[in-house]
Symmetry: C2
Subunit: 346 residues, 2 copies
DNA sequence: TTGAAAGCGCTAACAA
DNA sequence: TTGTTAGCGCTTTCAA
């Protein structure tokens, strides 16, 4: 009878298992109880060296890989962190996500990616998908504006980190910087460069809007002409930057400085300026936003606003992990600031 | 005694629950059994309208969000797909990941992101983290070379999709294209443009290596001088492209065409050419690889090799889902091909 | 330091 | 169409 357990009595109903090695089997092979095997694997310094050795050997022999779904269910700690990112192929968030992912992984956490949406119903769908996985933390690029989702998030008790912005009322933790300050700083920077006639090329984006408004205000404060604002909508490609610049040169030929809401847009502006053989920076100054990795090496090298995206990702991961492991973070709101990197376009 | 169940006899040990609404509570509120509630939520057309209505109401009232960890454990279907991507901030894979993610989400799956590593031990770690989550499918950017991991992957029974390359021995499914054919095609394309003295700027990457070798072979076939190959190592930035071009112009001034292993490298080559006031394309032709979104709109617009990354992501998602749901895919290996997009640099 | 029992929240299998 | 029962594979609680 090398059969399985008791084929006797009422035919036991049986589930089709996955066939993967379980902790049970490892424990059996090692001649210990499952819980001991669990401890040997998860908290090796809580078991005797002898037990540790037996279990380690059994794990190696079987090629056991713990089922984190089961572990997560039992411990209500999923070791998963979810991130919600806007869907743009090349963006200023890439660096952040990458450093977030790396830091999390090094601490034994995995990253689940959700793409943020424009419609509210879809946003709710994404959030439910995330909450359904019971992640140990949620990383948001941007602030969560929907009051309904904010309270839902709060109710779950899952640590939430909002980023890339500042607000007086974060859901939970916040690592960001002030878009208003950026707008003001860039305006003053250009005014100091003796620029007088401004244009702003911006995408449809609430944060860009705040930078724009602050810029305008700073310009008005100096009694200079009100900047010409061009909203390119959702598309933030080089193409739309070029088109915007063509439009600016047509309707406002006196413009001598352009502030763009993204580096890609700025690259487009530069491209059109070059196409029309305008002297940058003498005739026109251009400032971008983001400092994506290669704008420093182009000719002319782009003056832009730099955000330390890597820091946001790394610090964010650390914050989320701290909270996931039951600790508190001393400073739940952090302003990482920004810097204007002056290069050849100003 | 509005207490919980029987405080009698031996003090029942109790676990601290998470506090989240469970299916149980929803069922209770709706006055049905948990399994009926489950069916109403997951397979609504298998229950009566009356039951469906009761459960829907209860879900709405409680704000119930199903625990996918528990569901995954019980059904051994996690609704998770894992992707392994190389860690490069701006890359040709962005588009693929984005369309993969979107397509998966629309079918109720989530994407887990793993960053592929250079060391073998780390690669094993990443894979164990992935397998531990019991995903319903694994998306690999590239081929898996480690024989050990290949067989481990195969043993799990999880559907695996390799991409961005072609091979006679895929682990499971494969959606890619031939790097050898690309090298040959680009060489012939440039030869046809009356180019004679070639240089190749390439990153340290096995696929780039195959493109390079095919390129060289095609050139040799025409009895033209052997191309000068410059390996820039791991860094594929604009900066290294510029440096490489400077080196080429110094050591091989007769070069009249450069093939780069990435668009960013090509942009660097162009930048240096412009810096040295060389006429592109008259004096020198430049071809990139990847067709990242903005190289079309630069001046000069880059001639490059285009891969349909969106298609790889979308088709890949569909394949993985098919297999996750127990169906088979008719054509487990797909060559999506490539095209040389001729623009102003040739 | 180790183990037995119980149960995390859900669904598969079976029965009515 | 609905319900009962028994787990999925792990960790917590309690006890030795």
């Amino acid at each position: 009878m090398a059969e399985s357990a008791k084929p006797s009595g009422a035919a036991k109903r049986t589930r089709r298992k996955t066939g993967a090695i379980t902790l049970h089997q490892v424990a059996q092979l090692a001649g210990v109880s499952p819980i001991s095997a669990s401890r040997a694997i998860n908290t090796p310094d809580q078991v005797s060296p002898k037990l540790l050795e037996k279990v380690t050997l059994a794990v190696k022999k079987t090629g056991y890989v713990p089922n984190l779904l089961a572990g997560g269910l039992a411990s209500s700690r999923s070791k998963l962190i979810a991130a919600v990112v806007p869907s743009t192929v090349i963006s200023v968030f890439n660096e952040t996500i990458e450093s977030l992912n790396t830091t999390l992984f090094n601490s034994g956490y995995q990253l689940m990616l959700g793409q943020s949406a424009y419609s509210a119903s879809r946003e709710q769908l994404i959030l439910d998908a995330i909450i359904g996985r019971r992640p140990d933390g949620i990383f948001l690029t941007g602030l969560m504006k929907s009051e309904k989702i904010r309270s839902q998030l709060l109710a779950t008790g899952i640590p939430v980190l909002e980023t890339w912005d500042l607000t007086a009322n974060p859901i939970d933790m916040l690592i960001g910087f002030s878009h208003t300050k950026i707008g003001t700083a860039v305006a003053n920077f250009l005014i100091q460069k003796e620029r007088r006639n401004f244009a702003i090329v911006r995408a449809e984006d609430e944060r860009a809007d705040r930078r724009t408004r602050a810029f305008i205000q700073a310009v008005k404060k100096q009694k200079l002409p009100t900047p010409f604002v061009l909203n390119v909508g959702a598309s933030r490609s080089i193409r739309s930057g070029r088109d915007a610049m063509a439009e600016i040169l047509r309707s406002h030929p006196k413009v001598d400085a352009v502030f763009c809401s993204s580096d890609l847009l700025a690259l487009g502006v530069l491209t059109e300026a070059k196409f029309q053989k305008l002297d940058v920076p003498r005739k026109i100054n251009v400032v971008g936003f983001g400092d994506i990795p290669f704008v420093a090496d182009m000719i002319p090298a782009l003056t832009t606003v730099r955000i330390n995206g890597m820091k946001i990702g790394e610090l964010g991961a650390r914050y989320l992990i701290e909270r996931a492991e039951g600790r508190t973070v001393a400073e739940p709101t952090v302003d990482v600031g920004f810097s204007i990197i002056e290069r050849e376009t100003t």
